[in-house]
């Protein structure tokens, strides 16, 4: 049987177990300051006993289990355990507040929740009485939970022991269950991030998960000796396809960082050859470099600024498929050894072979920057409902595009420019308990992505924005706010931006969320005193700094879409206040409503307005702040 004939994830796990046993490491996790290793045999056995343990607690085929945790081996084990018992897994983001957790658990009819630690368990204990279907909450990190006396709680290890007991009376059950699994079984529900409405649960089949990983493997040829960094939330489809299914089809080793805060350190130790960061993480890496360069010695700063343009020039030539002559090659050689190699090493990207990004539109500057310093960064496009759709191939990379379509995928555009896709496998089985939405999005076999884009001469797909997010202007032009925003965000001083416009508006304006770290450092270097974020954001020097960056961005925008007025927001956009989704996308309509007074001011003629804004602190307390916000007009 060829690897392609394995049609479910648990079957692939068994395949790897039989192939490698305990001769090869399947995953590593940093714990106790050391990299703890698990072989394929460990992976298989943990999944096996957890699966049997859940069955002994009442898990039946078709049941749903939610998992709420950071990237850890336990996440993978639990997912494979549930799927082996022919159940379905729902991943929940760890920074969800209790009411959001309740929505996912309730809507998916989850019988069990596997939770990471005390923080997540507390959320579930708060809502457990409103969840009649919930049988057990199983946690894997017992820290802080020693004195909890809740019958609904159970530790991961207890379930494993139950599984071992259960095996004695039911030998061979786990293997039987795996054999019974079919490609069309629903492996996961992947909830859409819900920028507009309540999240919808896309039902994804094993065929789909395995299919995505296989086609990806075909393009990028992951080897079983490669290191993969598991960092994306597994609640997100990309980690499902790349991390979980990808490591199962290729045998590559999954590595889990110690804590979210230690990722930057950990990737250097791992030397990850395959990794995926959202545009935000790539941006923050560039930001880190920019900040360190400001702080470093004069010689190093000089070398960096001397050689970076060489990197850009060579990357531009190479990816335009032009010949790089000996002169540029020699210069690049020097640049590599003088700057780029050390830079890549410090970023943990020295051993990198495939670096991916996707999600909210990526600024072309990010791709260009990393290609310039020699990181093979590639963009892809996909969705919860249809998996991986397009991907840059090595040496066929264009800054503005998301690459050509994947094998087995068809892409076309509707009359309005909406991207429509069709897969050859039965990846998407509809939205859970929402036939209406399924029928709306899936027509004549084509899936309506809701994304606006076009296909260029090289058959690369260019995704501009969500259809719903395109805005009109009074003069009839259409513009994409996100298009401007991602370009603004390339400035080290701008963390977030919200471009505002509309059919009743004559021009585009913008709300800026300054980057506290970098602007703060910039202010300190210039001896500009400030107290709080609010104070810093309204300093005349800071406004001037931001104004210059907006002018620079304006040059890359079509004339009608240029930003005419802007304000620096007095606080940061915050997912806890529902201004951003959990994947850090702006919730546009919500923000525009909430800051209606700012929008009015942007289209008014005053230069300053006073605002009193309610804010919610991290720990749930509420307060208000009163402040003056300056509105700045850009000169043409």
């Amino acid at each position: 049987m060829a690897i392609k004939d394995y049609d479910t994830l648990p079957k692939l796990l068994k395949y790897n177990y039989e192939k490698y046993g305990d001769t090869k490491i399947a995953m590593r996790v940093k714990d106790m300051g050391l990299w703890q290793r698990y072989t394929w045999k460990d992976y298989y056995e943990k999944a096996k006993y957890f699966s049997l343990g859940l069955i002994s607690l009442g898990l039946e085929p078709g049941d749903k289990v939610s998992i709420l945790g950071e990237n850890k081996p336990e996440w993978f084990w639990a997912e494979l355990a549930v799927q082996a018992a022919r159940g379905t897994v729902i991943g929940i983001f760890t920074d969800c507040i209790p009411s959001e957790v309740k929505y996912y658990v309730e809507h998916s009819d989850s019988k069990f929740v596997v939770a990471h630690d005390q923080e997540q368990v507390d959320k579930l204990l708060e809502i457990k009485d409103e969840l009649p279907l919930l049988k057990k909450v199983i946690y894997w990190d017992p820290k802080g939970l020693w004195s909890y006396d809740e019958p609904i709680l159970m530790s991961f290890n207890e379930v494993l022991s139950l599984g071992k007991e259960y095996e004695k009376s039911h030998p061979g059950l786990f293997e039987e269950n795996i054999e019974k699994g079919k490609g069309e079984d629903i492996g996961i529900f992947c909830y859409t991030s819900g920028t507009t409405a309540l999240p919808k649960g896309a039902m994804v089949t094993h065929d789909g998960l395995v299919g995505v990983a296989n086609s990806w493997q075909e393009v990028d040829k992951w080897q079983d000796n490669e290191q993969y960094l598991s960092f994306l939330p597994p609640a997100w489809i990309t980690e499902q396809g790349l991390g979980i299914a990808g490591s199962l089809v290729s045998g590559m080793q999954a590595n889990f960082p110690e804590e979210p805060e230690t990722v930057q350190e950990n990737i250097r130790e791992i030397g990850a050859s395959v990794l995926f960061f959202g545009p935000r993480q790539w941006e923050s890496m560039i930001r880190l470099v920019q900040a360190k360069i400001i702080d470093t010695s004069k010689l190093r700063r000089f070398l960096y600024h001397l050689f970076l343009p060489v990197g850009y020039k060579v990357a531009d030539l190479r990816l335009a498929k032009k010949k790089v002559n000996w002169f540029w090659r020699a210069l690049y050689f020097i640049a590599y050894w003088a700057v780029f190699r050390a830079l890549k090493d410090k970023l943990g990207l020295l051993g990198n072979r495939c670096a991916y990004t996707a999600g909210a539109a990526v600024s072309p500057d990010i791709l260009r920057y990393f290609q310039a310093i020699g990181v093979n960064i590639k963009q892809l496009y996909g969705s919860s409902e249809e998996g991986l759709l397009t991907l840059h191939h090595d040496e066929d990379i264009k800054w503005e595009t998301s690459g050509p379509k994947m094998p087995g995928v068809e892409v076309k555009l509707s009359q309005e420019g909406e991207i429509l896709v069709k897969r050859s496998d039965n990846y998407f089985a509809g939205y859970y308990k929402n036939l209406e939405a399924t029928q709306e999005r899936l027509r004549d076999g084509w899936f309506y992505t809701g994304d606006f884009g076009y296909i260029d001469d090289d058959n690369h797909l260019i995704v501009i924005d969500r259809m719903d997010d395109l805005r009109g202007l009074a003069d009839g032009h259409k513009f994409s706010p996100q298009f401007a925003e991602v370009r603004l965000r390339f400035s080290p001083y701008i963390k977030d931006a919200l471009a505002v416009g509309g059919e009743d508006k004559a021009f585009v304006t913008c709300v800026i969320n300054i980057d506290l770290d970098n602007v703060g450092r910039w202010a300190e270097a210039r001896r500009i005193p400030y107290t709080t974020f609010t104070d810093l954001s309204q300093k005349p020097e800071v406004i001037e700094l931001i104004r210059k960056d907006i002018e620079r961005t304006n040059k890359t925008l079509p004339e009608w879409a240029r930003i005419k007025r802007f304000v620096n927001l007095h606080k940061e956009f915050d997912p806890d206040e529902a201004e951003l989704t959990r994947t850090r996308k702006l919730r546009r309509t919500f923000i525009e409503d909430r800051y209606g007074y700012l929008v009015d001011a942007l289209y008014g003629d005053k230069e300053e307005i006073r605002v009193e804004a309610p804010i919610t602190y991290r720990d749930g307390r509420k307060g208000t702040i009163e402040t003056a916000i300056k509105v700045t007009t850009l000169m043409e």
């Binding site: 300051g33 004195s147 230690t262």
Partner: protein
């Protein structure tokens, strides 16, 4: 909370020249108890801790730990008996990393001599590994992974306080004395610290003597409270009792009614 009295102080008096720093203070700390000592500035709170761990010699009175008298022991002997503390003004090796600070605290528990340690094989190696495991447990417990290898002197204040608590725990104490662990912290840091203190009691089942200024925190987490004023114990009881005690209100807030 156990019934056994771990630490007992009888009629303790301390004088600095003519000044009575402590006069006839008696108290007991039971197993698993979180006893808070509060009082205005100069009430003698830190002096009391300094007497317990042998920095000051009391003028009168006796201190017992697990039934043995420790009044006249040298402070390193007292540390070896399992009395561990943190300081109001952080006392760490500022040039060393977090993990090295914690490892340094383990030295009194190390059996191998420095020569064997220098060659680092066999028993010395195994011992080092065992100590490192304990230290890593503490790092995990106090969520210090991101600062494991960072030099302590460069850490922000709140984190340094946490490293200090970690160092105190690295001694595997039988009782922990904390001198204003939350002074100068913001609300988030205070909440973290309070949680770590409660977890310490839950997980390690050791008593803690906590000197703290922040009344709100004390009232939230302490099992019992002792109030000192000008070196005298003016009240003792549960947080609820203390809150209602007129003498305490007077000592803290002056004569006026609240």
């Amino acid at each position: 909370m156990g019934e056994e009295v771990k630490l007992k102080i009888e009629d303790l008096s301390l004088k600095f020249g003519g000044l009575d720093a402590l006069s006839e203070v008696s108290l007991g700390v039971r197993d698993g108890e979180l006893l808070a000592i509060i009082g205005p500035n100069g009430a003698g709170k830190t002096s009391l801790l300094n007497c317990i761990n042998g920095f000051y010699r009391p003028w009168k009175g006796r201190i017992f730990f697990e039934g043995k008298e420790i009044t006249k022991l040298a402070s390193h002997k007292i540390a070896e008996m399992g009395i561990s503390r943190t300081f109001q003004n952080i006392e760490l090796y500022t040039g060393l990393s977090t993990v090295d600070n914690l490892m340094a605290a383990r030295h009194i528990l190390m059996k191998q001599n420095p020569v064997a340690g220098a060659f680092y094989f066999g028993p010395a190696y195994r011992e080092e590994v065992r100590h490192r495991e304990v230290v890593e447990d503490i790092i995990d417990f106090l969520e210090m992974e991101p600062i494991r290898k960072k030099v302590v002197g460069l850490l922000p204040y709140g984190l340094r306080k946490r490293v200090e608590l970690g160092r105190a725990l690295a001694l595997e104490p039988k009782i922990l004395l904390l001198d204003e662990p939350m002074a100068g912290m913001n609300i988030d840091e205070k909440e973290d610290m309070a949680r770590f203190i409660i977890d310490t009691i839950e997980l390690r089942r050791i008593p803690i003597v906590l000197v703290e200024h922040d009344m709100e925190v004390v009232m939230d987490i302490a099992d019992s409270v002792v109030v000192l004023d000008f070196g005298r114990k003016i009240a003792q009881g549960t947080p609820a009792e203390i809150r209602a005690e007129p003498l305490v209100i007077k000592a803290y807030l002056g004569e006026e009614e609240v």
